[in-house]
């Protein structure tokens, strides 16, 4: 078993869906999470507040500098994440496909480094 991170990618500046649409998406995401739990693949999942709520901490000469804002202003930002267990990339991609359809957003699938 390998751990994979499914990152939900939100293009910057894309309009938020209408409330009814958002509610539908939230329901789909909850169903997806339940399916992961039922399959024993679920480890952790959650959505993130926007990058405007981020705070950066940078090491500098043994001290730490605090600044407001995200690490970098990008064309997209991390909107949420989902940590799963899967046998291989095909299995992880199957979950990734479902996540993309549920969230209506692009999903990046990345393996964690094996610990042994």
């Amino acid at each position: 078993m390998t751990y994979y991170l499914l990152s939900v990618v939100q293009p910057t500046g894309q309009e938020r869906p209408a409330p009814a649409e958002l509610e539908r998406i939230m329901r789909q995401v909850e169903e997806f999470n339940q399916e992961l739990r039922d399959a024993g693949a679920w480890v952790f999942a959650g959505g993130l507040h926007g990058p405007e709520t981020a705070t950066m901490l940078r090491p500098k000469d043994g001290d730490v500098l605090v600044t407001d804002g995200p690490f970098a202003e990008g064309k997209e930002y991390l909107a949420g994440l989902c940590l799963i267990r899967a046998a291989d990339l095909d299995e992880a991609m199957d979950w990734g496909r479902k996540a993309a359809l549920a969230t209506t957003l692009p999903i990046e699938v990345r393996p964690f480094v094996d610990e042994h």
């Binding site: 390998t2 046998a87 291989d88 990339l89 095909d90 992880a92 991609m93 699938v109 990345r110 393996p111 480094v113 042994h116």
Partner: protein, 398 residues
């Protein structure tokens, strides 16, 4: 006496099979390649004295496996945990979900996995199944060897780290994944069509392997037929000066009759299954061309019917352009030009070449010349440019 030529022939023929078996045994592509290369090094030393063994592939696989086991044991004394982990993966074969059990089939599905970049799929397939060296692949694709080496290293690292599986996809995924494999083989073929002809030979070899491993997939047979029929015209396709000879002007006596016979037989066999697909239809179109003893004898109505079928299965502007060429033969250039003008293919040199040809046939020489200019500007093939420039001169001279 066994020469290095014999061993090289065995290498080319059996490298893919040996690597495929060893990947399953060792669970790692790099280790498998090293073991197989070591086995061939041993063969180079031993076979000149002992002669080629009755089953060269079996000898190579057994030797490679023994080498790999020796090596893992040696490393076990140094790094017991690492070797133990490697051997732990070795004995249990991956769960089998597809219907076919040949290791080379597993390997080609791994090499052509959609999570790898298209260029990496091509390079891995040529390296692992074709047994081409990194230098040979780099030369064929006109990139520096270091670039190609890095591409291969990255792709193999992704397979290992992201755990791209080593198996034939389950039935539900097979149609999609098979399309991906066929696309890689056809891409290799097309790269060779305008470049290194060795790539065409390699693509045909891969096509034959797939047809042998998946005899019940008509599109696999269709792709092989398409490549054989295209390849049959190679001797007539360029003139002594290296310029491209268009199909209607080719000396049909120089077409390879054996390849045509094989290709046509395959077309008949796969179409009989009644599951047509884009490769089968394109092969059938080529089979109709191969049937005609002269260009004038071409059954264009049959070709147009096949293009209609292809349009229904795989619609797209390039198919529509090729269909228009058939329309020009059946209904005349004016009807074809109307179809071509509706296509948004301004960056595609063939679009301009076809348009130029139709305008020329309609007696609109000035416009035709302008279109030839556009085609000449856009083509990347020197052989094609030569014939376009000749046409351009002809139309300007009127």
């Amino acid at each position: 006496m066994t020469g290095t030529a014999d061993i090289e022939a065995v290498f080319r023929a059996e490298y893919g099979r040996a690597v495929a078996v060893l990947v399953r045994f060792l669970g790692d592509i790099d280790l498998a390649e090293e073991a197989v290369q070591e086995a061939f090094t041993t063969a180079v030393r031993k076979w000149p004295e002992t002669g080629v063994p009755p089953s060269p592939a079996g000898w190579i696989i057994t030797t490679a496996r023994n080498r790999a086991v020796d090596r893992l044991r040696r490393e076990a004394t140094r790094d017991a945990r690492h070797a133990e982990a490697a051997l732990l993966h070795a004995p249990d074969p991956p769960p089998e979900e597809g219907p076919v059990r040949d290791d080379r089939l597993r390997l080609i599905f791994t090499c052509c996995h959609p999570a790898l970049a298209p260029q990496a799929r091509v390079a891995l397939t040529l390296r692992l199944l074709g047994g081409l060296t990194t230098a040979q692949i780099a030369r064929a694709f006109l990139v520096p060897e270091a670039t190609m080496a890095q591409r291969l290293v990255r792709a193999k690292a992704k397979i290992r780290k992201a755990r791209i599986p080593y198996r034939v996809p389950r039935d539900a995924d097979l149609p999609d994944r098979l399309q991906g494999v066929l696309a890689v083989v056809y891409l290799i073929f097309n790269e060779g069509y305008t470049g290194d002809p060795g790539l065409c030979a390699e693509a045909v070899r891969l096509g034959r392997l797939l047809a042998e491993l998946m005899p019940d997939e008509p599109e696999v047979t269709g792709l092989l037929a398409l490549m054989l029929l295209t390849e049959s015209r190679r001797p007539a396709r360029t003139d002594a000066g290296g310029a491209l000879v268009p199909l209607p002007e080719q000396d049909r006596g120089r077409w390879d009759a054996a390849l045509i016979a094989e290709g046509q037989d395959l077309v008949r066999r796969c179409l009989r299954r009644g599951r047509p697909g884009p490769y089968q239809i394109q092969a059938a179109i080529n089979a109709v061309h191969s049937d005609a003893p002269t260009a004038d004898a071409t059954d264009w109505r049959q070709i147009l019917r096949l293009y209609d079928q292809l349009t229904a299965l795989a619609p797209g502007p390039v198919v529509a352009l090729n269909r228009a060429v058939a329309v020009a033969e059946v209904d005349g250039p004016a009807a074809a030009l109307e179809l071509v003008d509706a296509l948004a293919l301004d960056d595609y040199h063939v679009f301009h070449a076809v348009r130029a040809d139709l305008l020329r046939r309609l007696g609109r020489a000035t416009e035709a010349a302008r279109e030839y200019d556009a085609a000449i500007r856009l083509t990347e093939s020197a052989a094609e440019r030569t014939v376009l420039e000749r046409r351009r001169r002809e139309v300007a001279g009127r």
